[in-house]
Symmetry: C2
Subunit: 340 residues, 2 copies
């Protein structure tokens, strides 16, 4: 592990993306997002995901020159085709458009079809919250998880984001539909550890907290058993219906890396035109304070609201450098044409 | 257990509500909803909830004469004060208004503040889906569950509903944020059984599948552990922000039965103005078929999409009478002034 300043990380990642064929402006945007994700402690979608994104560019699975094109406009709703361009840029375009519509009409709903991996979903929630907007957003994905009661993968992880702006720290939820990610299973297995709670079934259908047998069976578990399964199904259906795009079963037919061809929804509301900034803060403070005032249980020293840990990690990383894994950092340096 | 025809159940419940002070028209609407919930197999919010609702009317916690009043209109958004009227009637008003706005502008967002228990959340999703609309809807509630890492109740169950219309059977999700309801714990305890998966913590913080110790500790578990906890927090914050209403911590101060003073959100979209009815059906069929085509696991004989079981139960109950618990039925008959 090393600590690298934010600016250095962003510069190196930008160089890697430029070498992979992106123009400087887009490379700077994307490198900022990957760097922010690591800065927030979301390593899986930060530095750890740089090499895979570069690989997708090289294979032609992401078209760095594609721009989103308007398919349909209906009142406060706009549908865009992502044209399999860079997922981060498409998602920013959608969020920006949704904020612009919301600024004028209170709410904006922008959907994207035929886009590519947006990386960390929370990015767009934090971004809109920083600008005073409320967000509800999600994406579908290729399948990686059985439906509840099934053996074979039928559901996407379908990350879901909700964000409420707050002066003392936004309340931001960013959750995938599986209880654990495959990344978490891998990290746990490499440590020789077990999961804190059962994460899926082994090949014989036995519930287990051992990561290895779940990685093999691909019988990873939806969060809340049947509940996360049902939620994933509805998020998938709605993403495809609202974007006039593809659902997971169609994305599975493309078989071009994670999320190629996926559908996304961005619902953005301006609370300043409803109760106002002060009222929104008062509500959000009330919720956060109530959660924080919990008596911690036998296993905890404090009780946090969603987004609280992220903000704390960010503050530390900005002050003291981003914690990076040596192997991952060497890989990114190499992609940038630098020596480690 | 007995089987009673739908029309008989609805008639008897209507008589009970009229005796409790409702006018005939409202009593007919509310009795239809309670009957439909039992008909769909959602007993907890059907016949089982009739006596409690009558009790709330008697205590004055629900005002049967109150009507929702418009607080604010902002483009496709309307905020209503429920004036602590009948939760079912307020929620129907909100759904109807959201559909009317969506019919004109593609989407309608109606929020309700200061309302009372809407009974079964799925009611409004099925209702809008029957009329061709997509729904995302939720309510906050008084607290009944600790936040993840906490000991004392801080979060509501905050039921969340998503519905997509489909000719062959709507896809409808209706889920609370706890893994199990207190009703489920009680029923399981009375049977002398254990929960299929751990449902919470006993007073010493031990994860358990025994319902009794969880009922005592009130340390019921969020679905998906930290995930359901985070989701409940965001649903609560957003419901209060968007309705300019109360969050769970403020509802807890009222202490007037379940959900008095709660905040609700109804987002309704007309997919006929997007991809159209045929496209929506094709997407929804694709999703449902993909799930149904799963290889069942070692514990299952089939894999279903959300809403599939409900539709099956409804069909059976409409053909053969609604299955009612003898004790519950006797109680409802007595409230209607009939002898059992």
């Amino acid at each position: 592990m090393a600590r690298i300043p934010f600016a250095t990380v962003q510069q190196v990642v930008a160089e890697a993306f430029i070498k992979a064929g992106m123009n400087e402006q887009d490379a700077n945007t994307c490198s900022r997002i990957h760097t922010e994700s690591s800065c927030d402690g979301i390593y899986s979608h930060g530095l750890n995901r740089v090499a895979r994104f570069v690989d997708f560019l090289k294979r032609g699975w992401v078209d760095p020159d594609a721009k989103p094109s308007l398919v349909k406009k209906l009142g406060v709703i706009e549908i865009y085709d992502g044209n399999r361009g860079t997922g981060i840029l498409n998602a920013f375009h959608a969020t920006d458009r949704a904020m612009a519509i919301a600024a004028e009409q209170g709410v904006g709903i922008v959907t994207l079809r035929n886009t590519t991996h947006w990386m960390r979903g929370g990015t767009y929630g934090w971004y809109a919250a920083d600008r005073g907007y409320v967000t509800i957003s999600w994406t579908n994905t290729e399948s990686c998880m059985p439906a509840w009661g099934g053996k074979n993968t039928r559901l996407g992880n379908n990350p879901f984001v909700m964000a409420v702006p707050r002066k003392k720290g936004h309340i931001v939820l960013d959750m995938a539909m599986s209880q654990y990610s495959y990344g978490k299973l891998q990290v746990t297995r490499l440590k020789g550890a077990t999961l804190p709670f059962p994460g899926g079934f082994d090949k014989d259908g036995k519930l287990t907290s051992e990561p290895g047998p779940i990685e093999q069976s691909m019988r990873i578990m939806p969060m809340g058993y049947w509940k996360g399964s049902g939620f994933a199904i509805l998020l998938d259906t709605l993403a495809a219906v609202l974007s006039e795009g593809l659902a997971t079963n169609d994305i599975d037919k493309i078989q071009q890396g994670s999320c190629t061809g996926c559908s996304q929804v961005f619902i953005v509301i301006d609370p300043r035109q409803l109760g106002g900034e002060e009222f929104t803060d008062r509500v959000a403070d009330g919720v956060a304070d109530y959660v924080n005032s919990s008596t911690p249980d036998e296993h905890s020293s404090e009780v946090r609201y969603p987004g609280e840990s992220v903000a704390r990690t960010r503050k530390d990383h900005l002050a003291n450098g981003i914690v990076v894994d040596d192997g991952v950092w060497a890989e990114v340096l190499a992609l940038a044409g630098r020596s480690a």
